[in-house]
Symmetry: C2
Subunit: 569 residues, 2 copies
């Protein structure tokens, strides 16, 4: 059978490290060569990392990327790999500009999100992404100029159409391909598609529908790894024209997915070189892996090998600590218990227990002496006194970080971020906030899942059962529990999901059956907390809409959801 | 002479307060009616405020804006103003969609930045902005769908072409207007154009060139007031076809600018109803006024009437305090001196002096007791000990704020933000950072200008001369001065301006004559401090590129400006 042997290289790049990323490409083409290959494809913006944001406005960076792709072509030939065709994403300019594109506000000219086709020691062709996502976390229309033309790659055993990420989603692109007189043997899509829950199904369905429409195989190669608030989940896949899944790479790890794609002269579906259809993780496991990779890559790519966090005995800091142990190794994590006069006894014993279970480093610093001196000097009481306790803990963690060089982790979850139920400059201090986009109810699910996973492997579950079972409390005053101030988390999380993730207004939420009193309270809290969220550390996005670059709302904002249409109780 | 009497209403709207903004429009149309008028024009997005950011994705908000513009039309007729033609900016949907526009990623459909033409108790016509800025601070392509069509308003005494802000900058729009068989008597542009230094000249020149090209009068009405990091400077203007300035509103205040625009049947230039050509402020005065308005509107629109800040005796906190006194009134400002063992004597005496000069409230809290307990409990030294001093001050200010309800002001300047020369959760705490976009050298200029302005009015200069004259120091260790750690501010500010504001790479900066050692040090510091800047409070933008939404760079970023082309010394 005639076929194109295709290798999808699902790699973890480092943003801005052009030389390092080029070396990564060489190493992976080498690996692919060992598997026998005609075509090796890398993700979108492999040479630069993704997203480059406003680095795309800097001429020195653009020129470095352009030079690197030419160097890479020569280096691959020097490596004896000149006969392989390599498709690699990078940053270029003026490749092809869509007609009618205004360059107002584009100081660096027509900068483009590009793919290079490298073969025979040179860049044989360049493609500029035509459709630029500019919603959610994406700002591509801000920094890139859309390209004008499609790109067809002729290989000895077949021909390939190339597009980049968003292009695949746009009807006009598919329509144009469908109108061609000869259909391609393969539609290759290179991507940097960030993880969010339930997205892998969407990607598969899109590929299958495009494959069916064009009567061709579709190959989708995705980036893997963490970059600030984004984590790319990999899960590269190849779908046959009949919609069946030919191959899929695992999620959250680097992988080389090799598959034989049948050409027009052959009949039948492609036969994978290896039976590589990785199983998709279950929904909670998937989140855990996303958070571990997001945290690990943030730490390592920013030069941290160790982390420190406060352990309160509660579920949020316990899950954050367990994630840190999985991401960095328990011997690279320092947990600090910082009890005050309002702390329960189990706050310390549960923290100690977690440290024993995981093997992380542990320290106890009593905060009452520091708190007392502030309270008496400033004559604080009520909320001001509560906040001082949290802020003293923040000062302690930053002091330890400054002395010992650890990354400080903030343990806030999405429910807390939404409602502002945290102390700015207190428990909110940190360089990274691993569970920032995880609703409280999902925090508990993660804890249970992680403990069960340990049990399946006959390991000690990291999180004490009493931490999972106890009623959540900030323990900033006597007898305080979260339910004094907030609706039940089941309800709270559902309303936050509708209001924040779904951008649904008040009337819409009431129509969905939520209680008006709860909706009004949650909406008020969410609106009021915008200023605090702006100063919160970054953390891994796992939902359709995370706080951060994904949801951009003004702080100064007098909009109040209309209550005129209150449904009578 | 036949003419259109035009009134430009330069108003200060409040974001999200649709009812309040509609009331503002009614009041100003009433005022304009007293001056006799055919046409009254309000700025871009007057009913909603600007920029609405992702509020534009919420259906309840869109529908409220649509309903408000219809209500406004009826209310104006009820006010007896049905015979006036009113142009007002607002948020609408599906007015006219530019062909080929993809709605991928636009969950709320074709939401548009619109202008309504109101007359006779109804909305007579609607215009959707055709060109959407999506660079710098603007994210309009993220939230809006571009419109398709121009809009011509026929008045009894002439006809008017209407565009919105960015439309005026785009050559295609002007070309289209120039090709019309009859030229308009007036090109009306409604704007929400944020202040930055030297921008008023650019606006005038643009209007003059468009006026000349079309052979028609151009009227430019701009928003005024603060909204988070932006301040709109007003300065609305009317330019005759010959490029001469017919009228200009003052900067940074609300104003009604009334002018008679000659129609096609009349010859000669328009005669202003009143000789209203406001003088442009000098470059330093302009910045001062921008900062005062930005701070005042941030505080008041967020419900604060009072502010608190730490006074170190240094120039940054002194200028911040003087701005706060001008913005909120000295009796609404609390300055707190928080000396440590490393504080000079003049740090306290200069702080006291400023409080006396301005009349602001003053308090002294010695921090050594708090610092000592942290240092001994954690055994801190070096940088960790230095930072604890700053963080103790942060806890004190937040404690006072929590007890007494003041807005906390952070005194950091742009040079400090650039280089990371501040303590996160220490001097960086605050709800607002008034001089965040002001380079250190300009901070001194502002101090001198403000003192001189006081002297011209025979008032006490607010800032002690010794504060202006002393060598800058963080006073976190014995004998410390800024010049131990940073290049001279003259050089530092120039390099930061090139690297940050100009997006110039290393080679480009060396070619401009900067010293390689200094450039490398500044570039390294700027790159390293990104994570700190993300958690810094918002502050008024005054330059072409401010830190914040204006400059979006990854935190995880291994890009290093290439040094291969180092110029030998």
């Amino acid at each position: 059978m005639t076929a194109v042997r295709l290798a999808l290289a699902q790699v973890d790049t480092t943003l801005g490290d052009i030389a390092g990323n080029a070396a990564l490409v060489r190493a992976w083409v080498q690996r692919a060569a060992a598997a026998g290959r005609d075509l090796v494809a890398f993700p979108e913006m492999t040479l630069t990392g993704y997203p480059v944001e406003d680095l795309a406005l800097r001429t020195s960076f653009i020129e470095a990327s352009r030079a690197a792709v030419d160097d890479l072509a020569r280096d691959l030939a020097d490596d004896g790999l000149g006969d392989v065709t390599v498709v690699v994403g990078y940053l270029d300019r003026d490749v092809s500009v869509a007609p009618g594109t205004s360059l107002v506000g584009r100081p660096a000219g027509a900068v483009q999100n590009c793919a290079a086709v490298i073969t025979g020691g040179r860049v044989a062709a360049r493609y500029a992404k035509r459709h630029l996502p500019n919603y959610g976390v994406f700002d591509e229309f801000r920094i890139f100029t859309p390209g004008a033309n499609g790109l067809r790659i002729e290989l000895p055993h077949g021909h390939v159409e190339l597009v980049i990420c968003e292009d695949l989603w746009v009807e006009a692109v598919v329509a144009e391909l469908a109108e061609r007189s000869t259909r391609p043997d393969l539609l290759l899509v290179i991507n940097a598609s960030p993880y969010e829950r339930d997205k892998d199904d969407v990607r598969y369905e899109l590929c299958a529908s495009r494959a069916a429409r064009l009567g061709t195989t579709v190959a989708y190669v995705n980036l893997v790894g963490g970059q600030d608030e984004l984590v790319f989940d990999g899960g590269s896949l190849v779908v046959a024209a009949d919609g069946s899944l030919l191959a899929r790479a695992p999620q959250f790890v680097e992988d080389l997915l090799v598959v034989d794609v049948p050409t027009a002269t052959t009949a039948g579906r492609a036969t994978p070189v290896s039976a590589a259809i990785a199983e998709v993780l279950d929904p909670v496991a998937e989140v855990w892996h996303a958070l571990v990779l997001g945290l690990r890559d943030y730490a390592h790519k920013n030069g941290f090998t160790t982390a420190v966090l406060g352990l309160s005995g509660g579920i949020d800091s316990a899950v954050t600590a367990a994630l840190a142990c999985d991401a960095l190794g328990a011997d690279h994590v320092l947990a600090v218990s910082m009890p005050s006069r309002y702390s329960s006894e189990h706050s310390v014993t549960d923290a100690e227990d977690l440290a024993k279970r995981t093997g992380c480093d542990y320290r106890l610093v009593a905060i009452q002496p520091m708190v007392d001196v502030f309270v008496s000097a400033l004559d604080l009481s009520g909320l001001a006194e509560e906040n001082v306790q949290a802020r003293v803990r923040g000062v302690i963690l930053m002091g330890i970080s400054n002395s010992e060089g650890h990354l400080v982790l903030a343990p806030g979850n999405k429910s807390e971020l939404a409602t502002g139920y945290s102390t700015i400059y207190g428990d909110a201090v940190g360089g990274f906030a691993p569970i920032k986009d995880v609703a409280k109810t999902l925090v508990w699910e993660l804890a249970r899942w992680r403990n069960a996973a340990a049990e399946r492997r006959a390991e000690t579950p990291p999180i004490p059962q009493s931490t999972i079972d106890k009623a959540p409390s900030a323990e900033l005053r006597a007898g305080q529990v979260d339910s004094d101030s907030l609706p039940d988390y089941d309800v709270l999380d559902a309303v936050v999901d509708g209001y924040v993730t779904g951008d649904r207004g008040r009337a819409d939420l009431l129509a969905a059956g939520f209680d008006a009193v709860v909706v009004d309270e949650v909406v008020r809290l969410v609106d009021r907390a915008e200023w605090k969220r702006r100063q919160y550390p970054p953390g891994t996005k796992i939902t359709k809409k995370a706080f951060g670059r994904d949801r951009r709302l003004p702080i100064t904002n007098r909009w109040v959801e209309p209550t005129a249409d209150i449904v009578a109780p």
